[in-house]
């Protein structure tokens, strides 16, 4: 839920203005503003123009708590101020699980929203049933001009394994390290630069009722930050958990080493497990020194800490393979069934929310990272970065952050990863055994499709 958003496109704003002026009626196609618009790129060659008549679009979203709600509402009010003929109706959900269930039910009932937040694996599921509109149908090209302004990791994340662009970036983020700076200073510790450093510091501060960190390993039905931490550790050890075609390598030596690392911390009483953002709770209660969480969680962490101590935020430590991070958060997909006017209005909305100015405001309020570097020069974003220097390091990882391949069954495989972590940390199973089981189950899931 706290993953994050943003993105920008200076050209998007210009294109919107241009299309608004050019629109003489309802959603008439216009020449694509993107580079190389052509059918062979997956687009029609013509971009949908902003409709001039009244249009209402719906957006299934989960930005409904904390600072996310006002940030989401501001995006909508800004858009509606610019396009008063378009109404964006938010269909808010309390969490991602509920949202996904609703989206599936709405699609089954033939009553899908115009737009909806979706992880890559969800998008794959909808797309395989023919229920998504490709971006090429909206932009006239599979590679709209705005796309080139997005960070490279974000660009990769917009495509499904068929190579086509099916998603538009929204609330994107990476993981960062939240820490009790006062506790570390009191113990003579400094920010860990490598995962080995991290283990040393975690063990050193785990005393007098303090456990270095508490993580949610996730469950069979969904990944959590603990699952993603394992994935990052594995890749930092040189493992490649999934090939581009989804072939899993969950029992690779790098992955086994990652899980062994976590087990060693647990055995040294430097790592605990829990549910419902346990790291944040423990950190706030001064029972933990670190919490690995999304950069978008800053507002929540800060509120939990409540000024009791200095909350430090740093980039994740690096491993033998260097600095590795994983992209978190969702994209936006458009469902089939929307009218031509709704598609045109929704496309205008997508481009608008990823424009640099809107991304700056969204990031500064929600904590999600901007999807375009152009937002960083906006005064609002500059002021935010000045107060939160961690953003610079976090944003720099958006170019290299990895994502898991967009297959629907990857969702299951992450559940197998989470179960392996539970088996090791809570039942004392050998990491290699647990990961071999996960590997077999994931291979079977891939075969079943």
């Amino acid at each position: 839920m706290r993953k994050r958003i943003t993105a920008a496109a200076g050209l998007a704003a210009l294109a919107l203005s241009a299309t608004a002026c050019a629109g003489g009626g309802t959603s008439t196609p216009k020449a694509a503003s993107g580079s190389g618009s052509s059918a062979k790129n997956g687009g029609s060659g013509t971009e949908l123009a902003v409709p001039t008549g009244p249009v209402t679009i719906t957006f299934e979203e989960a930005m409904t708590i904390g600072t996310l709600k006002p940030a989401m509402e501001k995006l909508v009010s800004d858009f509606q101020a610019k396009y008063p003929n378009i109404t964006v109706k938010l269909q808010g959900d309390p969490d991602y699980g509920t949202m996904y269930t609703k989206e599936k039910a709405e699609v089954q009932a033939g009553n899908a929203p115009t737009l909806g937040q979706a992880y890559e694996s969800w998008a794959s599921y909808f797309q395989s049933a023919g229920k998504l509109v490709p971006i090429g149908d909206l932009a006239g090209t599979d590679t709209p001009a705005e796309m080139s302004t997005f960070y490279k990791g974000i660009q990769t994340d917009m495509k499904l394994p068929d190579g086509k662009t099916w998603m538009w970036p929204f609330n994107k983020s990476v993981l960062v390290l939240f820490e009790n700076s006062d506790m570390l200073a009191k113990d003579g510790q400094t920010d860990p630069k490598t995962w080995d450093d991290y283990a040393t510091v975690m063990k050193a501060v785990s005393k007098d009722g303090v456990t270095g960190s508490t993580v949610d390993p996730g469950s069979a039905t969904g990944a959590a930050y603990g699952t993603q931490w394992f994935e990052i550790l594995a890749e930092a050890n040189g493992a490649k958990l999934y090939d581009a075609d989804g072939t899993p390598h969950l029992s690779d030596p790098g992955a086994v080493k990652a899980l062994q690392y976590m087990q060693d911390l647990k055995n040294a009483n430097a790592l605990a497990t829990g549910k419902n953002y346990p790291g944040e709770t423990a950190l706030g209660a001064q029972k933990g020194a670190f919490d690995i969480s999304s950069a978008a969680g800053y507002g929540f962490e800060n509120k939990t800490v409540g000024g009791k101590f200095k909350l430090g935020i740093t980039a994740l430590p690096s491993g033998p393979a260097g600095a590795v991070n994983e992209l978190t958060g969702t994209n936006i997909v458009m469902f089939t069934g929307a009218t031509a006017d709704q598609k045109a209005a929704a496309w205008a909305f997508l481009k608008f929310i990823d424009s640099p100015a809107e991304q700056a405001g969204w990031s500064a309020t929600s904590g999600y990272l901007p999807v375009t570097s152009q937002a960083l020069s906006d005064p609002v974003m500059q002021a935010f970065v000045a107060k939160n220097p961690y953003v610079t390091a976090a944003v720099s990882e958006l170019d290299t952050a990895f994502t898991l391949p967009g297959y629907s069954w990857i969702f299951k495989c992450q559940g197998y990863e989470a179960t392996a972590i539970q088996e090791v940390l809570e039942n004392g199973k050998q990491p290699s055994d647990a990961l071999n089981t996960a590997q077999s189950a994931c291979t079977a899931a891939k075969a079943q499709g």
Binding site: K104, Y125, A220, T437
Partner: protein, 318 residues
């Protein structure tokens, strides 16, 4: 069958009484069917048809978003039950039976004991009855959320109490070995209020003469309970066991909220697995196959109960 035979063999009755007899069997008339029709249609629409449709779906690799893309698999989803490793079908069935056994034995014993303690009445005991019943009136999802925090091993009330009493603490929902007992504890807290009231109702109908006679004959308190009171409560006990077994086999919400079927599938029951496969992983055909098996298991236990209760006094209750 016997009744039918007797009716056929019975001598022809005078026209008047025969007409009255037919009129009494109102259910067999067109008006009887007409009055029953709304309930029958609702039952058909929301129970019978979905049950049949579930079996149909279980034979396919079902694409819930676009059924036209579904592929027929025959009994393939059923054979997958025995191929699955994460979790295995048998482990999920085992967890269902573990939970059901604990709820039947624990729930029946605790509610019977509470009913015996509370049967005398009085303001204090009436208040206690209400307090015991109150959890049953609360939504499972809401109270499960509260119990998630009670079972928190770092900040929770449960471990705080154990620690205060110098007893060993538990990881509760965080450990595979203690997660299911934790769910059972919550479920007993939530359910015994209802079964206690059922036993109280049964106790209120018992004859005092037998107990008085037993005491006059020198029975101890335990003997009186075992041979007189509980014996008379047999139909009520059978009802409590049946209803607890069925609701326990179908229990879902507490597993969803308290433990998400974990850790490491330790609380993944058949009903939770149906949800996980059908609604989380969108593997609708396999989820439907699991639902059919859960249906069969429930029917099996219902038939066992009917057979064990055959000829007993429980027919009026169950």
């Amino acid at each position: 069958m016997t009744a039918t035979t007797q009716a056929v063999q019975a001598p022809a009755a005078p026209p008047g009484p025969a007409r009255r007899g037919r009129a009494r069997d109102f259910r067999a008339t067109r008006w009887g069917w007409a009055y029953s029709a709304p309930a029958v249609l609702v039952f058909l629409a929301f129970v019978i048809v979905p049950t049949g449709y579930t079996f149909y779906v279980s034979l396919w690799k079902w694409n819930a978003l676009n059924p036209a893309l579904s592929k027929f698999k025959g009994l393939g989803n059923y054979s997958r039950l025995f191929d699955a490793t994460q979790p295995t079908f048998l482990s999920s069935l085992g967890h269902s039976l573990y939970f059901t056994g604990a709820m039947v034995v624990g729930g029946t014993a605790i509610s019977l004991a509470l009913a015996l303690l509370l049967q005398r009445g009085g303001m204090l005991l009436n208040g206690t009855r209400a307090a015991i019943f109150l959890p049953h009136a609360t939504p499972v999802i809401a109270t499960s959320m509260i119990w998630t925090w009670i079972f928190n091993y770092k900040f929770g009330l449960a471990d705080w109490i154990l620690h205060s009493l110098h007893l060993p603490t538990s990881q509760w929902l965080q450990s595979s070995s203690s997660a299911m007992p934790a769910v059972v504890i919550y479920s007993l807290w939530h359910e015994v209020g209802f079964t206690t009231v059922v036993f109280l109702g049964g106790l209120a109908t018992l004859s005092n003469e037998l107990s008085e006679a037993a005491r006059v004959d020198g029975c101890s308190g335990w003997q009186e309970f075992w041979h007189v009171t509980w014996h008379q409560l047999k139909p009520v006990t059978v009802f409590v066991i049946a209803i607890t077994a069925i609701t326990s086999l179908q229990a879902f919400t507490q597993f969803y909220q308290l433990a998400n079927g974990g850790p490491a599938y330790a609380t993944t029951t058949l009903s939770y697995l149906v949800y996980q496969e059908a609604f989380v992983f969108s593997d609708t055909g396999y989820g439907a196959a699991l639902a059919v098996v859960l249906f069969a298991v429930t029917v099996f236990f219902t038939l066992v109960r009917r057979r064990t209760a055959a000829g007993g006094e429980s027919h009026a209750l169950v």
